[in-house]
Symmetry: C3
Subunit: 313 residues, 3 copies
């Protein structure tokens, strides 16, 4: 998430009312969560276990709860609660705005695009040419949709990331300021939910086709020409490379990568990164052929055990 | 479900045109399904197998299809079809009313609460302060929502219980007259469905956070500070105690209890009550560590069997 | 999918600009996909592997990419791309029309039927008597709904089939021109998605009851008096016979048949046709009792293996 203009370290420190370490004119271009942070960005860290990761990341500014040594060429913002102050910044730069009509005046909609009745299109949404957005779709603020995209009824683009900090007084939500980006020639079925990125983008790349009732978590990237069948759920921060096929009711854990051209059979549970070009099955998902063999072995188990016993006599 | 005023046994018997046993002035305060019945309530029973349970329950009045002996201090309503007559009462006290506008005039909405476009809010719904109800949400009649609640697009609160009696001529629906109650500081993701209670409440207690596409059945109670990930389905009459975590695509059978602080891994199927404070996995769900061991054993089965065979020679 | 009037072979060949084999006056009544094709219909085939199946089907006209010998009493349409030209015909006979209001003027709605706010009802939809269509439902063009039907909020009837041809330049969608047909006394829960047929009907027969968040694929037929629990997903071209029960989160692969009265337990994956009157469990689903036994064996595996080893010493 880039700021609308370059801010100085001092200006940002005043927004969140914190001390800083570094040149007061140190330029800041944006803010991002650790998964997608870039040079010029602020990142936040509030647990000593992750201090090094944050300090050595691409981030130029680290919002941190200890006055550590500042890495060369970087700056620090010292806060007693970096999570709270990161939220303050998100709220400052991307405040939630209520909508006064079903289709926001600030939305841009390309030529030839059809918007069916009862669909909600939020502030600053951009939709390309020759799309069909069916009835009762909800598109939250700032989402970006390419050309020749079809979105079926009931689908929700841009709801908040499911991302909470467990505090003694209750769960504290990390505010979402990111976007959903749908590239050209994507089809999205009915009643899918695609959450926006926390600070970055949740992206569905060109030519991918999604069936109904699919869940895609925040900051996840679906590659080009993927096929995803209904009721499949993909958690946040997942990378699905190009030409992957996920059959129905598959679950994918957060933070992993599914390699190019991989095929995952229905009802599988993907609990670790999968190499491309192969076929997987099971919960947890493993090589499909090995899994089939395993299932056959289990089926024959009673007779196999009987044999083992008989042989032993 | 309490009646708007106290009714007498005679008055109720006239609504449903049945005989009664007891004092005609016997006071009746409400009606409830056996799971949630309280003193002063009517309960119904139509199978001899459950007569004792109903007669010994908290119910003060039993709507029953046999003239049994009346327990002391209680009353009976004798009907040839208690299911039909219980429905008649629900229809009498909570008739379905069509809505004339997206936001019912009788709905009460607290200060600072934002209702986004295309959202439906039914009759007598109460929403607290500082909530955000996003676009295309549907909230049926009589639902109650606390303060600081967020509900994302596509979510449906208060649809009917999935509860049918199998009659020779077809399934006969038990009418739903209950409510959905969402306490303070609850977040509900996009495209969730939370059914109302048959006569009581389906409740999500304070501080709990639900991801997208979650299904919660009638009369189920989700405790405080629970975390539920997407595509999880919980059947009716379940009790999920405080601080429970259910990961994605978990299924929970009706009528059971998940103890405080339990954690259930993704894609598990909970088929019986679970003790609190432990971690579970599998379908059916069992102790996670034992399940992991089991999975490892299965993976090694071919070599284990080979060894067993070799040793036996 | 029947044409609005009888067309001649020559007329159709001019619509799609192809050569034909047969009498130019050869009458054509409609077009259908291979699963549901009838006498008088056009079918398409573009792979030599399926030539015989198409030529020997009920179809009277075969749209094909090779000038094969024409079966007696039939006709051919010769195209370099039958998939593209079948789509051209669908587009010609069932063009997508945008809607100018939430309830299309051409929709027919029976007496006593209640349509709640924010519901979309497309062109030429027919809804019978005494139905309740709750808020935020989406019903696409040409769907047909019987009498005494209840449809809960968020449900989508008639979205497109998930059916693509994998071309070098990307997935090419087979256009859907079919319908969804809901018979009398059907209840459909909240946030279900029922796709229309490619050329035929997706049908839910009388008296069946669907819970929430259920997915039904194109051209699938659900028999009479079936019970389907939430989060169950049924792929396209499935036949579910009468009085079948599918519990929650079941998945059913495309093209199979589930026999009359079968019961499938929660989270099962149905990967082949199931005989009626029996109970099934597992992924892949198998006889429930055998599966339970298998699960028990697995649980006892460590001790069974230990015994086998001990015996062998």
């Amino acid at each position: 998430m880039k700021f609308p203009k370059t801010y100085t370290l001092k200006e940002v420190s005043e927004i969140i009312n914190t001390e800083f370490v570094g040149n007061s004119n140190f330029p800041i271009f944006g803010m991002n969560e650790i998964h997608v942070v870039e040079k010029g960005d602020i990142v936040f860290v509030d647990h000593p276990k992750y201090y090094d990761k944050a300090l050595e990341s691409n981030a130029s500014v680290v919002l941190i709860n200890k006055k550590v040594e500042c890495p060369e060429g970087k700056a620090l913002l010292i806060s007693d609660d970096p999570f709270r102050d990161f939220n303050k910044l998100t709220h400052f730069f991307k405040p939630f705005k209520s909508a006064s009509s079903s289709i926001a005046e600030t939305a841009e909609i390309g030529d030839g695009t059809i918007i069916q009745p009862n669909t909600f299109i939020g502030n600053h949404v951009k939709i390309g040419k020759n799309c069909v957005i069916h009835a009762n779709v909800s598109i939250y603020d700032n989402c970006v949709i390419g050309n020749n995209v079809t979105i079926h009824s009931g689908t929700v683009l841009g709801a908040d990331a499911f991302y909470y900090k467990n505090r003694p007084e209750g769960f504290d939500k990390l505010l979402s300021g990111g976007r959903v980006v749908i590239e050209d020639n994507v089809d999205i079925g009915a009643s899918c939910t695609i959450d926006r990125g926390v600070t970055g983008d949740t992206t569905i790349k060109q030519g991918s086709k999604l069936d109904n009732q699919i869940q895609i978590g925040h900051d996840t990237v679906i590659g080009q020409k993927c096929l995803i069948a209904s009721h499949t759920g993909i958690a946040g921060c997942v990378i699905v490379e190009n030409e992957v096929t996920l059959w129905g009711q598959v679950g994918v854990i957060s933070g992993i990568t599914i390699g190019k051209g991989a095929v995952v059979y229905a009802q599988s549970g993907v609990a670790e990164s999968l190499e491309g070009g192969k076929t997987y099955f099971g919960s947890p998902a493993t090589n499909a052929r090995a899994k089939m063999k395993e299932l056959a072995t289990i089926k024959n188990l009673p007779s196999l055990l009987k044999n083992a016993k008989r042989n032993s006599k």
